[in-house]
């Protein structure tokens, strides 16, 4: 599944020996990548909306071989159905442990990713089978996650906030998953890009 997000990242140059990234030096306004690629360098770059994919991409303002610590990122793509939920859950748990995310942060991220993935599995492909792609990346004190599918357009953030104060007789049973995500994540963003649903989640860890 090719996603426009990754096209934007394609111009990044990686120096595998030093495990650092060197930004393109020659041209100004070279496209660097999405927020997750350039976090920490925002004082040196400007952002714009990519004409092709509609994403907020970040542009080089003439950095000369600027290096940053290589971020750790895990990507997993599989068929979005119940039979694959266990391996998705294993991927999530393993990735978070590799990224040294613990305690409350680990719990919040697990809950939110579970909810996001469950939405895709249950609703994205009512008539056909399709894939879900999960990206988990840690950059300093942030964890950035993306859930991408090619299913029916569905913006979970459009879902109304459930009234969780009413009595048991009046309680509705829907909408709790997105309510949990809203409360446990620091940022949520949905975009429909081409035929893809792209949900991004950000969790700040180890600080505010």
């Amino acid at each position: 599944m090719e996603v426009s997000t990754w096209r934007c990242r394609a111009v990044l140059k990686v120096n595998p020996e030093q495990e650092t990234r060197k930004w393109p030096a020659s041209k100004s306004l070279d496209r660097l990548g999405t927020l997750s690629e350039v976090e920490g360098l925002t004082e040196h770059i400007s952002s714009t909306i990519c004409e092709k994919c509609g994403l907020n991409v970040f542009m080089n303002n003439g950095l000369q071989n600027k290096t940053v610590e290589k971020p750790a990122k895990f990507v997993f793509e599989t068929v979005a159905d119940i039979d694959h939920l266990e391996e998705i859950n294993n991927f999530i748990e393993k990735s978070l442990k590799e990224l040294d995310i613990q305690g409350e942060y680990y719990g919040h991220i697990c809950v939110s990713l579970d909810e996001a993935v469950t939405n895709v599995v249950m609703y994205a492909y009512p008539k056909t089978k399709g894939n879900v792609r999960i990206t988990i990346e840690r950059l300093n004190d942030r964890v950035l996650m993306e859930i991408i599918d090619s299913g029916d357009p569905f913006n979970p953030l459009d879902h109304p906030v459930p009234d969780v104060s009413v009595s048991i007789e009046k309680r509705m049973i829907g909408g709790l998953g997105i309510h949990l995500m809203r409360n446990m994540m620091d940022e949520l963003n949905y975009r429909r890009i081409g035929d893809k649903n792209c949900l991004s989640l950000v969790k700040h860890i180890g600080g505010s």
């Binding site: 599995v121 007789e169 949990l180």
Partner: protein, 118 residues
């Protein structure tokens, strides 16, 4: 992939205790099974249901629906549903979704039985 929620059930001092065994309650198709079995216990005469979540490390909100449905059934039958041994994150989920207002939550089975047991 399991086809049902695994739990052990015991009756003590007038309390029906349901020990959920699954470490993960994630798979959405299992929530219908949990709803059906909890409601069946209440329909069968359990007036005081204590759900022990001590083994559950992760839970999806689709199972919160099961608890709400069981709570509705308990309300019809003048029964009550309580919980014990929630992890901090699951307890936080209960608070965020207002389940803590619908159900009594105990830190431990012992504390629950001290209050609920006959």
């Amino acid at each position: 992939m399991s086809d049902s929620v695994q739990f052990m059930e015991e009756n003590r001092q007038g309390v029906t205790i349901v020990h959920i065994v699954n470490q993960r309650l994630i798979e959405p198709h299992l929530s219908d099974d949990l709803t059906r079995r909890l409601c069946a216990l209440i329909e069968g005469g359990a007036l005081c249901l204590l759900i022990d979540m001590g083994a559950v490390a992760r839970i999806s909100s689709v199972f919160f629906r099961s608890f709400i449905m069981a709570g509705k059934k308990a309300n019809e039958k003048k029964a009550k549903v309580s919980f014990c041994n929630l992890t901090p994150v699951i307890k936080e989920g209960f608070v965020i979704t207002g389940l803590d207002k619908l159900f009594k939550i105990y830190d431990s089975e012992g504390k629950a039985m001290g209050e609920l047991g006959e």
